[in-house]
Subunit: 755 residues, 2 copies
């Protein structure tokens, strides 16, 4: 797809900086204009590396024991975007003179963002200026810029391309939470010049991590290139004289490298830059297209019947790819690499909303995301100790490098469910891939340590039920409750998964190393099973629904009629204690539990639960509507499913939450995928395989997607009432359509399979 | 009594600064040495005015709607204590040379703190130095110092007496119980010199409140007195030559005045200083003694049989007098005026622990304390709005001038019970004094507005019970619970008190003004009564006890056996979430409810509750043991009652909580009084009068105290098994002894009345 903007509207630029950011899972560059902005234009000029952070102090006016004392924050790196251009001595800017043509475009097949301008300068000179930007998926350290200029009358060109280390993280002066905090995180240590550029070496202020940015330039026509050190980095000047009608191309190779990945980032960046120069821009562009061709081959979701929705879906999936760390020490931040919202932190968003897309279409990336959680397992153990547990691992609510970065525990660390969510993703991975070797190597350790956590966090009440007091579920409008249904169900599955994986490993005699490593004694299994079987799942007999927690349904329902529209999202207008005191949900909680863990729950309970919670959910979180869409589809509420899907699929393209300037909503994007594949296509992962129940929104003619299961790639094509399943790669496999097993061998057509 | 220390031990000085502070309810001066300290001696040099505050910003790393954005903090005022002394050119210090005699003494009958020293200087000179300090109860703005020097061999004396405005508040970033941010709050605006001293005018940095300190000096023998401005205030030099064996006396009159009380503090302080000079030191000392004679006449509690306990009790009552604001715009801070712990804030400590002492023995002071809560009723209304309530008043958990100053709402604003506690104190006041005019003027407004709060905070559940979700009771080890028994019971009484007082006013046609002022409609009364009658009081049928809250008894009991002694207080060693998850109480909660609101609760339920909660209470709060003492006495557990009383009565004298350096524990002191009068003497205030059940600890021979009831002063004297009640002032009155009405007319002797 191509996302196109044909108008330059200054008031939209901050949002477009997020929408048109270029990233590759390792680095991300916001869509800022190379030439800069006049005063008064809202902009966040940013460049980030996934997982590269500084440490900031968390100062509380009233600090209690165990409150996180520091947080990790994704840092704004040296500005490597700036290129100023003088045409016959007159400086180019999209904001001066006249723009006779303007187009910015993201192409998700080529992986490029381009900006085309026909410009007439204040003095009347004409020029065509085009800029192409690419964050290379094949070479994650590379950010490439191609700068093309054509002058109808010819003339002199002077480029000044800067690397500027005088950068700070974004501050909102009206926000008292950040006013007193240190915002400069990057300090220049060294600058070395090259004939066509140079390299800067910087270090973060507190975490003391090194990062290097090497920038080299190549002119595609004779030009004079010189570089010069500045107090904040270096500037490369490129001067040439351009004949009338000809196009001058300047290629900027920017390579970032950091100490979390390599020992000597400076040498690494220099080496990679040389490789890129040797390869040349054209080949690099081809690599990008080839990478994306392969990506879309399995990841593409096609929708026939609504171009805007199709555009939104493809945009979302591309952003997920741009956001996903693939190096096992990074993950998917809430805003990807597109902005500084949520400070580059990783949440449960990955496991519940984003991971399935990768699991089903790029399982090798899914595995890297799991690796990340494995890499911070020691931190999760340490976090559990801080929170009072002598055994087990408690994943932090928000983190970059593993430690808890939440500064308000009632809707932070108290969300113990993230630990169950991580366990769930490991178990999903195993069920879909059957990768037992990975379970032996890493998965079992995570599952056993997380299972141990629940035994410590919970206890048997006087009726012999196993309960989990004082936790917070996904719905942050109700905090510190007893027996949050979602959390308890998640813990129950975590406990059972641990037992199941342990037994599988034991059958193959693969259980030894993990037992030895974590001192696991088989007698613990019985305790896991006992707690899982005794798990308290609060059910309200009067309403015939599961209660969000022990006391939720006893509280008064929020007075929605008396709540003016401008009071949403409620969290910005009501004290948390007032929210906690009412039946009002920020997002799907029990309904999400029914999506993830539906087995054994009667249809009428699912339906009543959906109806009940829908009435009291505000969807103030962008993680909510997709879940309601999925469950509406599950319950045959097709109109609702479609409406919630519409509210999900273009969240950022339409800036629906009014904060896309801070970055894209990656979980929501994953949720759009889930709403189609698990919603309309009804996919559920069960122990015996993949189960589907297809439906087709009345507004569409059909849709298509592919799914990896074990080593088999299946393609699903819905057209009207008909379903075609095609075996694209691998061996025949059985899937379940509306409960019936279907062996997919080559291609299968099922008529009237779609509701 | 006399509190005496005969040894100068540097390591004890910080604690002694609190123990020997001099205060009078308006100003407080820590017991610092005039001459200062050598480096390395821990000291907090402080001088405070009750209710005089600066405003500090509360910056949260994660701020949610409605979090208090600023707090009031009692400020350390200009240092007015310093007096340096040179004897024949050699500077005096208790830390140099040799001390042949040292004694510091507080005399609670004269209201003086004296320090006597026989000193031998490093060069061998001998001197007697005595300092007398007094915060005048008769003239609250006056702090008086008498400095006496005797030289066996005579010689020259030079005094340098300073007023120094370069002061800051004390900081300990590692302790949540004291302020965490260093801030200078006092800024010098003006200095004016007088021949014998001067006056400084200062202003606080943010609250912009003016305070003036005038200091004048008088020598009781010929001396040369000069004053000189300094960058931080002024210094007064007093020079004289002292004949051998004679005593030179220097009198320092320090007068503080502030803008919260008067428009022009500087002029006020100057005027008062002149008055004091005219009166002279001897007369001022006599005023003090006369004030205290009158105070002890009604407030003295005598204990025969244990001198240490008697000392502790009298010390405590004196400290309560020193701490209590009597001007209707101040109250009793958690640490009184003795230190900066809890930042000079007023809590529920006043109403539940301290107020009864004044009500029973100095009702005119009790009324001033009520006036304070009335003066901040508008702030309580505003606080209720922030917390989401459209009607009613919610008192802040901690405040100086009325706004919520708590920065952690789960154990701050969520403690809604403080509103019930305030209402309780008004109702107690009425029941004991029958002062219906005060109810018409102020009390009814407080009772009706607080009653309205409960209707907004609570709701009817599906069983028709009225519940209060998401509150925190007195026990801060369990936060944000549903239906805290203490809170619900307190709300129930508040609702009923509002109805009762309204009806009484209406009978006398006094209800008009309050109805008009707060727009009160009589139909609200029915709602009050209905909610009170339907109040949910969680009772556990299995254990036969009231549950601290809906889910408390379902949680696992804290593992006390596995908790090492050095992990107490638990709040400094465990994450709050881990504490919340267990049955463990910081302090009396349900047991306190049973003390305050015992009517209608069967004896066996009281006894089982006591036994149950005693097992799981750590008494990590200094407000706990007194309540257990009272209830143990109530239940005939005499040995326990006595043991808990011992753990209460000398908390500060023995530095039992290891933090007396931060200030005295005023609530604990009030609690010691309650443990005697409501514990051993079994006093309960009931609608028909005062009820007693006397007991005598086996270790004592007897005890005595006086009580005001309406306009009658009764004196109670227990000797062995016998009780004598004497009518000291006023008309005959009926009291209830062991349930039997006794008309007290002159003197009544009741044999075998004491258990």
């Amino acid at each position: 797809m191509k996302l196109t903007r044909n108008e330059l509207r200054p008031e939209n630029l901050a949002v477009e900086e997020s929408l048109f950011h270029t990233a590759n899972g390792y680095l991300g560059v916001r869509g800022n204009f190379e030439e800069g902005y006049p005063e008064g234009v809202q902009t966040v000029r940013g460049c980030y590396i996934n997982g590269f952070y500084d440490t900031v102090a968390l100062n509380y006016p009233e600090k209690l024991y165990g409150f996180a004392e520091t947080a990790q924050r994704m840092v704004n790196l040296p500005d490597i975007q700036t290129t100023r251009l003088w045409i016959n001595g007159e400086e180019f800017s999209a904001f001066t003179g006249q723009l006779h043509h303007y187009q910015r475009q993201l192409d998700t097949d080529t992986g490029q963002v381009t900006r085309h301008m026909q410009w007439q300068s204040p003095s009347g000179q004409k020029a065509q200026v085009s800029v192409l930007r690419m964050a290379s998926f094949a070479r994650p350290q590379l950010f490439l810029t191609l700068y093309d200029v054509t002058l109808p009358k010819g003339g002199s060109l002077v480029f000044a391309s800067e690397v500027n280390c005088d950068v700070a993280n974004f501050v909102d002066p009206s926000d008292p939470r950040v006013a007193s905090e240190q915002q400069q995180h990057i300090f220049l240590e060294d600058t070395a010049l090259l004939p066509d550029g140079g390299v800067v070496t910087c270090r973060t202020g507190v975490s003391q991590l090194q990062v290097a940015a090497c920038q080299r330039h190549a002119a595609m026509a004779p030009a004079n290139i010189t570089s010069q050190q500045t107090t904040t980095g270096f500037t490369t000047r490129v001067e040439t004289t351009l004949p009338a009608g000809q196009t001058f191309r300047l290629v900027k190779y920017t390579l970032l490298s950091d100490e979390r990945r390599v020992q000597n980032p400076t040498a690494h960046a220099l080496q990679l830059a040389q490789n890129c120069l040797d390869t040349g821009a054209d080949a690099l562009l081809q690599e990008q297209a080839a990478y994306l061709q392969s990506f879309w081959e399995t990841s593409r979701v096609q929708i026939q019947g609504d171009a805007e929705i199709a555009e939104g879906m493809e945009y979302n999936l591309y952003q997920l790819l741009q956001s996903a760390g693939q190096d096992s020490i990074s993950n998917v931040a809430a805003k990807g690499l597109s902005g500084e919202g949520y400070e580059g932190h990783y949440f449960w968003d990955t496991e519940i909303y984003i991971f399935p897309f990768f699991l089903f279409t790029q399982p090798q990336i899914a595995k890297k995301l799991l690796n990340f959680r494995y890499s911070v397992l020691d931190d999760a153990r340490a976090h559990a100790r801080i929170m009072g547990h002598t055994k087990g691992a408690l994943y932090p609510w928000r983190t970059i490098a593993g430690s808890e970065c939440s500064a308000y525990f009632p809707s932070g660390s108290a969300q113990y469910h993230i630990t169950g969510d991580v366990a769930h993703s490991y178990m999903q991975y195993y069920t879909v891939t059957q990768d037992i070797a990975y379970m032996a190597e890493k998965g079992a350790e995570v599952l056993l340590e997380t299972a141990r956590l629940w035994l410590s966090a919970g206890h048997y009440n006087r009726n012999g039920q196993f309960g989990l007091p004082d936790v917070t579920g996904p719905d942050e409008y109700t905090c510190l409750v007893n027996n949050n249904y979602y959390t308890n169900l998640s813990a129950q599955h975590n406990l059972r998964s641990a037992v199941q994986i342990y037994n599988l490993l034991k059958q193959q005699n693969l259980h030894g190393p993990v037992c030895q490593k974590i001192g696991f004694d088989e007698t613990e299994l019985a305790a896991f099973t006992q707690a899982a079987n005794a798990m308290l799942l609060p059910f309200d007999e009067t309403l015939g629904i599961y209660a969000q927690d022990d006391s939720f349904l006893e509280k008064p329902v929020w007075d929605f009629a008396a709540t003016p529209q401008e009071h949403y999202p409620l969290l910005l207008h009501y004290h948390p204690l007032f929210l906690y005191r009412h039946q009002v949900c920020k997002q799907a909680d029990t309904v999400l539990a029914h999506f993830l863990y539906e087995d054994g729950i009667p249809e009428d309970v699912l339906a009543r639960g959906y109806n009940y919670y829908e009435q009291i959910t505000t969807h103030d979180s962008s993680l909510s509507t997709c879940v309601f869409s999925i469950m509406a589809a599950r319950l045959g509420l097709h109109q609702k499913a479609y409406q919630y899907f519409l509210n999900t699929v273009r969240t950022d393209l339409d800036n629906a939450h009014k904060n896309t300037k801070d970055g894209i909503h990656t979980a929501n994007m994953g949720g759009a995928y889930l709403a189609l594949v698990c919603g309309f296509a009804g996919l559920r992962v069960k122990p015996n395989g993949l189960h589907f129940r297809f439906s087709l929104p009345a507004q569409w003619q059909g849709y298509q997607f592919s799914i990896w299961v074990q080593n088999t790639l299946l393609h699903f094509c819905v057209t009207g009432k008909n379903l075609q399943i095609t075996l694209k790669k691998g061996s025949p496999v059985t899937v379940y359509i509306n409960g019936k097993p279907i062996l997919v061998n080559q291609a299968v057509c099922i008529k009237e399979a779609v509701q």
